[in-house]
Symmetry: C2
Subunit: 919 residues, 2 copies
């Protein structure tokens, strides 16, 4: 098949259709589809995306012969409209607009009113019976073309306008007389000539050729590149160009123009939601010179425009528009975002696309459309971005309050834990606890956090750190507990002595108000009111009944459907009964990761661990182990009770040891006292224990190999509590997971230790319980040796945090210094624009090409040894939708993620299964 | 084929041969081979290794029916010898000895004189006409059997002996009368009965069965396990058991016993080298009660035993022995280690095996045997352990002096840099430099070293550290410069204030004598004399002519042969003209790795680097870059001159940044002064720059991506110096290598920066030079994405240090805390012995299963994109023989290693090629 350069959407012929968005872009594909449906669309044609590709590969030049094909197409348009390009009597004017595979609103170039020249402007005046409007359009076109196509600075034109207004004593542009406007046009053409060295092009085809090139060119402009990066749109998708006959909403009182959504994009309600202006062109609706009026009578009245709605003023057009709404929704099976123009009483649709919407609206619309029979539950599920569920689960700021607080915004950090929080500044965990006990909400602000800040983090409403990335201790704990969190706002300066916090030239003291928006990363030195999500109020706090919350009902519907279609199960990463409870309410079917080291919160629990590692007295070590065993067992009993028979994968201690060591003199003194040695001795031992690269140090099973007693103690604690709870009549399914395994022998050894401790315990107690033993696959070597390792494992769980760390050779804790540069792009060394070194944060979005290949290798080799090996993932990626989809494709049995991401993972798993069925 | 349990070596039948060592062990295979050759070997049989395997797998029990087969074999031996097992007239006595695939001298159990009982002892007395000897043998047998087979504590027997000697007023065992000995036998049997609960076994077959089991059992004794670990012998090789008729060297003056080598195992000289005793049994030669006498007249005279040599006393036997020597060397084509006994004038060979030898002897014997026509040069090459070349290149302690210093040995660390060094203790680099300037040899002792210690390390004769492994900074620099080095001797306590060093309860002060043996890791608080290697004296120092040194001539012969057969080329890792010069003399054909960061030695050079990273003034940064560029360019000019047209792969700056930062207050003050800021500001910036895991931090090309100016500066320095040197008429081949690449885009970007800097420089100077750009493959992701990365690379070099680090998730700097436990073994949880978690240090010996797979993937995928992609390795493994062999098999074009390992790599590369041909 020879690739076509022109795809018509005219009455005579329509070459495209809605399923050709990869070729024609979303806009072009939909225009063609609508034209075929008989929707009143002004005729035009689309130059497809691959021509844009060829344009960039051929040194920014259009294919040979393209303009001849364009001329043929124009003549078909001319026939349909009855106008003629450049005509003195009835000129055909064109809009030239970009249109990529996915909508990138406002990112690329648009040229309107193309075709105007010294002749056509006279024809336009005639057709619209409005000379003022005609010359106003011409001067706008000259400026737009000069700016967009020729990159002439806009201020040159604005200066002229100001000069003429001043000379005539005018205040605003629309006071300009026809004569003024004619002068403006003349002066604008002079500027053009001066800057470019030739006359302003009078040949409409020359204008058109330049405009098409310019749209292609704009694919690489700075804001488009940035937008693609944010939205993860590949560069090689490119844009199409849509050339379309212009229609005029500014031909008088029976003309109008507007934008509309078929449903409310904020709430999802089914109302005709849109705004319009009579006697206006499209840009006027957006420009803000005249206030646009709601199209529906009801909403217009509400907004103070009683009697001015489209419904009331042009009931026939409103009716037609409503029919178009219905027909488009039925056809495209989604809420539509529409641009329309009424030209002398005749309705035209200029564009229709799936409308952007909030998470709330996404879900409501999906649920409603299913119940309206427009789409199936499967389609409804695929319609929702899993991350949008996060919005339903997070406490939120009132948008208006936030807008009003804008001047106290002091910076934007990493949006590490979604949700909004406001409270008093607390610069230490102690202070946060103090506030909490006094019933005062607080925000804990630290350079970074460590396990000893756990209490403070729980006591605070939100957490803000100056250091650390989206998977730092603060971020992981915050997300796990659904705590709003902003991380790595490096501009923060904390003065520990003066107890002040400053940034962006502003300073507040401990106890002053501060607010953080964990969904956007914004930080304000001001109080902004928040409310908890309705879903949480129903499910977790039970302060609202399901019947009271439509949001909850919709949420529940989606989760029920997702549960039905997903093939992987979803577990949770949780270390406390409270977390587990939350996760189970959200639909988790067990624990995929309990981190014993997370049980060491608070100094009292840290003390025996510190003694264990610092002491060389076997007596003290044994005592410490017993002490630790006691509280671990206590915690596990509660967890098993909440689980009520669901499985729990428990990871043996995997400390980067430094995280647990005393951080300040007070803690050192306390430790020294309790160990009966001097402060100096403690400091010396800490120095000896310190590691150059703790993430690659003496951790995980390495600790269990060098000190098997530490493994045994944990096994006893786990199984003893499981036995106790079983006796209460609650079944328990402990799964013991060995971390940081790099070779089969390591796991073989640890398995022996586990089995021995278990059989000794069972012998002592005269009872036994089933348990399984498996391993984390979190080092490249473990993935490569999976076949040997699987001989000793009943299950694998991919620890993708560490696996990403080692596959990339990047420390999560230190990545903040260069990784943001990698994804935001560095300047091309030769040529313009930004070069994206790595598209996103691999600690948030699984690297399918590198880490993913190791996962596939691990799965394949593991199952080569044990066909029925149970395999899951328990890294942060287990709750990230694209990563969950990858896990499904890789054949994993389950994903595990923090409690507040369980719904997201469930939905993503369902989508992955549905997408596979579609393939 | 049904596996046989018994392999005879008798006149009647011989089942084995020399090529069956995997089945029969080395000893058994050689005994069979010799028997077939007609060498006078006492008859016997071998129970093969796989029976040992079955023994351990079947709960330490021998196969059913084995003893019946043994009985049949014994009757064949009885026929050949004319004696009978347990006979009252002519008893057959047996030796029962272990024999694994490779020799493990003294590691496993041996039982001699088996078959003695209350009857046979009478027969033995008759046959030997020596009642004293018979009862002495019996009491020895009872004790040996009780100890070895039944594990009865030896002191019980020694106490009885002492008691009887005291009662009779005797001083030594051999004064015991026949009556005494008979009493001893009786008492010994009583001890046996008391300990075991049954009579000492009189049935020779019961004795034999127990002895065979005991030899099998001893495969798992502690010293055997340790030895296997050291020598990297797999556990599943197991041992065979050799049961052989005893002959008697103690039948009077026409009987004798001895051990001999066919050549001198220390020097390799072709002399009959051995010792013997008349009228003695084998163990007497080793036991040290009588001093053994050289067999050759010349050596006996030299040792003060004129006229007592075997050559003089038993000329016929000596002649026969010589014939056996020749025939064995011709047959086995290697120097032999032989045990012989002369029984009533008749020569018997009890064992022959390839003799252990020093590196010197290995090489001399190989060269000599080639010139004698016994073996081909290829065989000669394959005969030499590449690491033994190290011995030829290292300064050495006089062995006798070292032995005398034994009581001042304070510990053994990692033998990180081979060679011996002695000097005054220097606890700081400044002190070492001070000593050096005063002409006083010193040993630099530090907790660990950093680049600022470079001067001190060069000034010292050797380096000792308390921390760090075999690839720590100290070790890498030391090996590179051929400096003796012992690392990670954690027992060392350095008191910086008192300027003392203590360990093992001993303490010395700065300035006291200390000696380190980098070949063994031993450290002595004493002076021990050393001398440099002859090879160095000829090649490097040119203080000796080639004609003067046989050692050098032999070395050169080996290298010449190796050069001929190897297929990979060998380059060097070198950063100074001196190093490059050494490496070229050793046969390197270019530089495989120059580390620019190693050029930052001394505070003067570190200062601009520190400024560059600490300053945020662009002016200061540019000045620092220029300053750095100047001295880098200076160094490169000298390096290019020495290379004289050979290629140089230059790695762009890859600092783990912390290594280059000020270490103490003095350095901080100096830096602050030079930057014009306060000490506090420097400290704060250092804190901001500090990384949690520097090895996974902001290093390598990440620095070049975030600060392209740093890359440009280096490119300018490299190419400018290459242009200068080219103008001198010396061709230059710079190869620019980008480190720590994880994705194709990173390399693409850095390549653009390199090319731009180059073309700008060429334009400025009006001249150009060819260069290539390639990358290190040192992260798992780089190996996986090699196909994409190769699009931007002209060459790959595997950085196996970092690749090992990330594949294993182990920090080289921190591995010392657990890796030694991994390779030395942890106790089995159930059962006896040690479980080896990982066989060796993966930073020294390439992990072929994990890291190796990534290398293979990288090679395959890289060449998929570029068939002729040049690929090498430049990690520490490039000089380790088994790793070099792997590189050959993986299809690498070259290996690169530190200068002093170049000869080893050349030999290993040749062996790899030869082994491939054999396959």
């Amino acid at each position: 098949m020879i690739s076509k350069n022109i795809y018509l959407f005219t009455k005579k012929a329509t070459d495209g259709s809605a399923d050709m968005r990869e070729v024609l872009g979303g806009k072009g594909a939909n225009l063609a589809e609508m034209k075929s449906m008989g929707i009143p669309v002004p005729p035009g044609f689309t130059v497809p995306c691959y021509v844009c590709n060829s344009y960039h590969y051929n040194k920014q030049s259009l294919p040979d012969g393209l303009m001849n094909e364009v001329k043929e197409a124009i003549s078909i348009i001319e026939d349909e409209v009855g106008a003629k390009f450049g005509s003195l009597t009835y000129p055909l004017l064109l809009s030239v607009r970009s249109g990529a595979r996915v909508s990138m609103p406002g990112m690329m170039d648009t040229v309107l009113n193309l075709g105007l020249n010294d002749q056509a402007v006279i024809g336009l005046a005639k057709v619209t019976a409005n000379e003022h409007m005609a010359y106003d359009s011409y001067r706008r076109f000259i400026e737009m073309f000069s700016d967009v196509v020729r990159e002439i600075p806009v201020f040159l034109f604005e200066d002229v306008l100001d000069e003429i207004k001043e000379a005539s004593g005018l205040d605003s542009d629309n006071e300009l007389s026809v004569e003024n406007l004619k002068e403006v046009c003349t002066r604008f053409k002079e500027i053009y000539k001066e800057e470019i060295g030739e006359e302003f092009p009078q040949d409409p085809f020359v204008q058109l050729q330049a405009a098409i090139s310019s749209v292609f060119h704009s694919w690489q402009n700075e804001r488009a590149v940035l937008y693609r990066k944010m939205e993860k749109i590949p560069c090689d998708w490119r844009t199409a160009v849509n050339v379309q006959a212009m229609v005029f909403g500014n031909k008088g009182s029976d003309s109008a123009t507007g934008v509309a959504f078929t449903r409310n994009p904020s709430t999802g309600e089914k109302v005709y939601y849109g705004e319009y202006l009579t006697d206006a062109q499209g840009e006027d609706v957006v420009a803000g010179i005249r206030t646009p009026i709601p199209i529906s009578a009801k909403l217009a009245k509400k907004a103070g425009f009683e009697g001015q709605s489209l419904e009331e003023l042009m009931p026939q057009s409103f009716k037609e528009l409503g029919e178009v709404f219905e027909s488009l929704e039925q056809h495209f099976k989604d809420m539509q975002d529409i641009e329309f123009t009424i030209d002398n009483g005749k309705l035209f649709i200029l564009q229709a696309r799936n409308g952007k919407r909030t998470g709330f609206a996404q879900i409501k619309i999906a649920v409603d459309m299913v119940s309206e029979g427009i789409i199936s539950p499967q389609e409804g599920l695929l319609r929702i971005q899993p991350n949008s569920l996060e919005q339903l689960l997070s406490p939120v700021f009132n948008l208006k309050d936030k807008e009003e607080a804008r001047e106290s915004l002091i910076g934007t950090g990493l949006n590490a834990g979604p949700g909004a929080a406001t409270g008093k500044l607390a610069l230490s965990s102690e202070k946060a606890v103090e506030y909490s006990e006094a019933g005062v909400p607080s925000i804990l602000v630290r350079l970074d956090t460590s396990p000893s800040d756990f209490g403070g983090m729980m006591a605070a409403k939100g957490v803000l750190t100056a250091r650390g990335g989206a998977t730092s201790h603060a971020a992981v704990v915050a997300r796990q507990f659904g705590k709003p969190c902003v991380c790595g706002l490096s501009a923060l300066k904390i003065d520990e002595n003066a107890r002040t916090l400053s940034a962006d030239g502003k300073m507040i003291s401990e106890g002053d108000d501060i607010s953080i928006d964990g969904t956007t990363g914004e930080v304000f030195f001001k109080e902004i009111k928040t409310s908890p999500s309705e879903v949480s109020q129903v499910l977790i706090e039970e302060s609202m009944s399901p019947e009271e919350s439509i949001v909850f009902q919709n949420y529940q519907m989606i989760i029920n459907w997702a549960d039905k279609y997903k093939k992987m199960s979803v577990r949770t990463n949780a270390d406390t009964p409270r977390d587990v409870n939350v996760a189970l309410h959200f639909g988790a079917v067990g624990i995929g990761l309990t981190r014993i080291e997370h049980m060491f919160h608070g100094e009292q629990r840290l003390l025996p661990l510190r003694k264990l590692f610092l002491s060389d007295s076997p007596q003290m070590q044994i005592e410490s182990l017993k002490e630790i065993q006691t509280f671990i067992a206590h915690d596990f009993k509660d967890i098993f009770r909440v689980l009520n028979g669901l499985p729990a994968t428990i990871r043996l201690l995997d400390p980067p040891m430094h995280e647990f060591m005393p951080k300040n003199d007070r803690e050192i003194v306390a430790l020294a006292e309790s160990m009966g040695i001097t402060d100096e001795e403690v400091k010396q031992t800490l120095k000896d224990l310190s590691e150059v690269n703790p993430m690659l140090g003496h951790r995980g099973c390495r600790l269990g190999v060098s000190s098997p007693g530490i493994t045994s103690m944990q096994v006893r604690a786990i199984l003893e509590s499981a036995l106790t709870v079983t006796q209460e009549g609650i079944p328990c399914k402990p799964e013991i997971m060995v971390p940081i395994v790099m070779s089969a022998t390591e796991l073989e050894h640890q398995r022996q230790v586990v089995d021995k401790a278990a059989s000794e315990l069972f012998a002592e107690l005269g009872e036994s319980i089933e348990y399984t033993v498996g391993t984390m696959v979190e080092l490249p070597r473990a993935a490569l040796r999976a076949s040997q390792i699987a001989e000793h494992a009943e299950f694998f769980s991919f620890g993708t945090n560490d696996l990403t760390q080692t596959t990339f050779g990047i420390s999560r804790d230190d990545a903040g210094k260069f990784l943001p540069i990698y994804s935001s792009g560095v300047p091309y060394v030769n040529g313009e624009g930004q070069m994206e070194i790595y598209p996103n944060d691999p600690f948030q979005v699984l690297d399918q090409e590198g880490v993913g290949e190791l996962i596939k290798i691990g799965v394949e080799r593991g199952r080569l040894t044990k066909q029925d090996l149970k395999i899951g993932i328990c890294g942060e990626h287990g709750g990230e939708p694209s990563s969950v989809e990858f896990c499904h494709r890789a054949g994993l049995d389950y994903v595990s993620c923090s409690p507040y991401r369980v719904p997201i993972a469930i939905l993503a798993a369902a989508q992955a299964a549905l997408k596979e069925d579609l393939r």
